[in-house]
């Protein structure tokens, strides 16, 4: 029987602030799961530290709430150990682009088939509003004593340049759009980033709901790429020219910020995932979790060949 949103709710009470953008994201994740009807035993949510880190506790699938910035390595281990699992990471901008930046970059090199949802609000909410890596230079949110002294990184450009094969942005209060993007990201074979603009009503008084939804020059500041005819998908992954064109287009588009802020899929390409690459190396499907390592308490792995390689061969002259 198909499950509904109400089946996905746990009895664990949310402790996010009233009006937090995270509620929109939570709804979008649950709606995406309901639409996809994935086997809930095979879905794993992995989170880091921060308000976003609590997400798995609110959803009735397995949830692994890990360390600050380390959600991607945990998720990678889970996926490699059992590629049958659908692995979704929920991290924040400080978590993923700050303390976890090294993992965020290097996951791209692997194109591992997991989905990274980044709750991007420009601040470290749970520690009372310090500037995060996505807050721009000179901005002074209400909890900062002085304007931000660091420049911001552009996570979309970083993801595109280091090998993410699905790079998108969405907005926490447009649950319908976000749900569709999350579905695409989950269904995409390879590493996906969905950077989610998420207003933090407690500490970010600049990037508010009102800011994102403000009408500037007759249209909302936030607009949807797909409504402008933008197509970020590489149709032929063997066509280098097309890849170059789509990469440059995505990087250029992701620079747009201010009067207009685009959301949607910036870049998408189908390339072999890490599991595919391992299959080629091992000449078989690799699912370590299915390996039977013992029978009646005895090891089943035959190591005689390995022992032979190091065995002392007595040489007796004939």
């Amino acid at each position: 029987m198909a499950y509904k949103i109400s089946d996905l709710k746990t009895d664990y009470q949310s402790d996010w602030c009233p009006g937090c953008g995270d509620f929109g994201i939570l709804n979008a994740i649950m709606s995406a799961l309901v639409d996809l009807q994935l086997d809930l035993n095979k879905v794993v949510l992995v989170s880091g530290i921060g308000c976003s880190g609590k997400t798995p506790h609110y959803i009735n699938t397995s949830g692994i709430h890990t360390l600050h910035g380390r959600d991607i390595p945990f998720a990678s281990g889970i996926k490699l150990a059992n590629p049958e699992l659908t692995v979704i990471v929920t991290g924040g901008d400080g978590n993923t682009y700050g303390i976890g930046a090294g993992h965020f970059l290097n996951a791209g090199r692997r194109n591992i088939d997991i989905t990274c949802l980044v709750f991007n609000n420009g601040v470290y909410g749970l520690t009372k509003g310090q500037a995060s890596p996505t807050l721009k230079l000179g901005m002074k949110t209400k909890s900062l004593p002085l304007p931000n002294i660091n420049e911001a990184i552009n996570p979309l450009v970083v993801a595109i340049s280091c090998g993410y094969t699905f790079v998108a942005r969405s907005y926490a209060y447009d649950v319908k759009h976000l749900k569709e993007i999350i579905k695409q990201a989950i269904l995409h074979k390879g590493l996906s980033l969905v950077d989610i603009l998420q207003p933090c009503p407690s500490y970010n008084d600049i990037h508010t709901k009102e800011y994102f939804e403000e009408v500037v020059n007759n249209s909302k500041r936030i607009y949807k790429l797909e409504e402008t005819g933008y197509d970020g998908e590489v149709k032929d992954p063997n066509n280098n020219e097309e890849i170059q064109q789509k990469l440059l287009q995505a990087i250029a588009k992701s620079q747009e910020w201010g009067e207009k802020i685009p959301i949607g899929v910036f870049y998408k390409i189908n390339l072999p995932t890490l599991t595919d690459r391992l299959k080629e190396r091992y000449k078989k499907d690799i699912n370590p979790s299915k390996d039977n390592i013992e029978q009646n308490g005895k090891p089943t792995t035959d190591i005689s060949k390995l022992i032979e390689e190091i065995e002392v061969k007595r040489y007796i002259r004939g």
Binding site: H57, G63, I64, A81, K283, P288, K298, T301, I303, R314
Partner: protein, 604 residues
Amino acid sequence: MKKVNNFTWLIGGPQGSGVDSSANTFAKTCASIGLYIFGKREYHSNIKGAHSYYPITVSDKPVRSHTDSIDILATFEKETLSLHKENVVENGIIIFDKDYNVDLNPNKYTLVPLPFNDIIKEAAVKFQREKDYSKLQIMRNVITVAASLSILNLDVEYLIKTLESVFIGRRSKLLEINIFAANLTYEYIKSNSFNKKSIYELRPTENNENLVLTSGTTATAIGKIAGGCRFQTYYPITPASDESEYLEAHPEYGVVVVQTEDEIAAICMAIGASLAGVRASTSTSGPGFSLMAEAQGWAGINEVPVVIFNYQRGGPSTGLPTRHEQGDLEFALYAGHSEFPRIVLSPGDIEESFYLAIESFNLAEKYQLPVIFLSDKAIANSIQTVKSFNLSNVKIERGKMLSDQDLLTLLEKEGRYKRFKITEDGISPRISLGQGIFWNTGDEHDEFGHICEESNNRTIMFDKRMRKMNTIIKELDVSLKYRMYGPENADYTLIGWGSVKGPILDTLEELNKYYKVNFLQIILLKPFPSEEILSLIKNSKMLIGIEMNYSGQLCNLIRKETGIKINKRILKWNGRSFSREEIFKGVIDAINLDQEKIICKSGI
């Protein structure tokens, strides 16, 4: 009279010039006539050029350590001569390049000047490879080994047999020219009667014990494969990487090996894999182990089985990255903030590394916690002939891991699955991701794994986890806790852990000619088997701690756990492992001198 089948041979040369392969060829040939081998690799943190050396101790009895004294010094460069000649015994043999102008006393040593260049030239001409003359300099290795074996009167056939096993695959085209050079070298030695001047000799024996000749990293890697480890992560680091590379080179066993971006990712990925039900480990050395501290706490509070292999090297910081030390014990016992259950154990040698690697995974799964396998460079990089590995007594125990059927039965009975169900022994039934739904969090949690800051829950949950430490002490077999060697009621008890076992055992018989001495090797360092150790040492006339670190970390631990102060400590922290002679002299000094610390300094 000739000294037969017992000596130490040492080869030295610039890093990257083939010292290791020469030593391996020599060791393999000696092993092929039934002898026992111990070889120690000593190298600089450099790719090419800096001095490296490799002593091989050969014996007709099992041998587990190196000696400071050298019987045969073989080299093709000057630095080795100047650095090591002082250690060559009287009437010892020195093999060197005859083109060098060296100042060696012919009355003290048997000098063997070798015409390396002439032999290489002749081989180059014979195989029409004159233009490769500089490339063929690598044959200095085979020439050195051939000269050594020829001086030791071992028939060239044995060497050829070894060369045939070494020059295989894409190197096989080099076999013939190397055999040719070996034969030329033999002729040169015989025609100059150097073999007659030698006081050492090799003679094939009847010994047919089933042996392997291997290193600590290889033995550990094979143990992992046998023990069902199917996921390994690492970040390149000396001396641990060899183990991961071995696993990577054997994909047919299905171990997924991931070279991660750093050691934090390495341990987190391994924990992730374990959550999906796979036996997982990571291998590193001190600097990497330091980076893993936080995640160990996560595995502790979430009760995830994971095995961390720490091959200790000289610290702190970068320290002596290619040298020896047992300096990480205290850190391994406490790494990470606050308190959580963990096991720390240490193998004493290459053979134990194989079996203890398997056992580490059993313990990690049975008790659902991180296990730290504390090895060190002296085990990792040494080679030794040890009894061939035998799986007949090996068990795989996965503890309270539920099958799908078990889970169904539990759900019927209890309604919901509780990952952290409170139990008497502290261990909860475990399922893997994919089997059913559960939560983990680095926060304190309730039985379901949800964040819970409630004070009463905290008291109960902390106690539940820590209770496992008592369960371990109660359940663990004594062979995994400690081993005692030598006479039972000795006057003097030597106490050590890890790689000091080899040189201590190799000295014990000789020491017992003068004093009644035994040796207590501690394997389980956490939880510490306090009561058992106390009863073993409380009546000893004198306890002598032997450790390769500055302060005597095990001695301090024993004081803390048993209240007994070890008043004599033999310590070494110069980056070189203990030699047999040092242990012998150290123990004699400890017994006779009114001195708390004996500091050892041998090694180049």
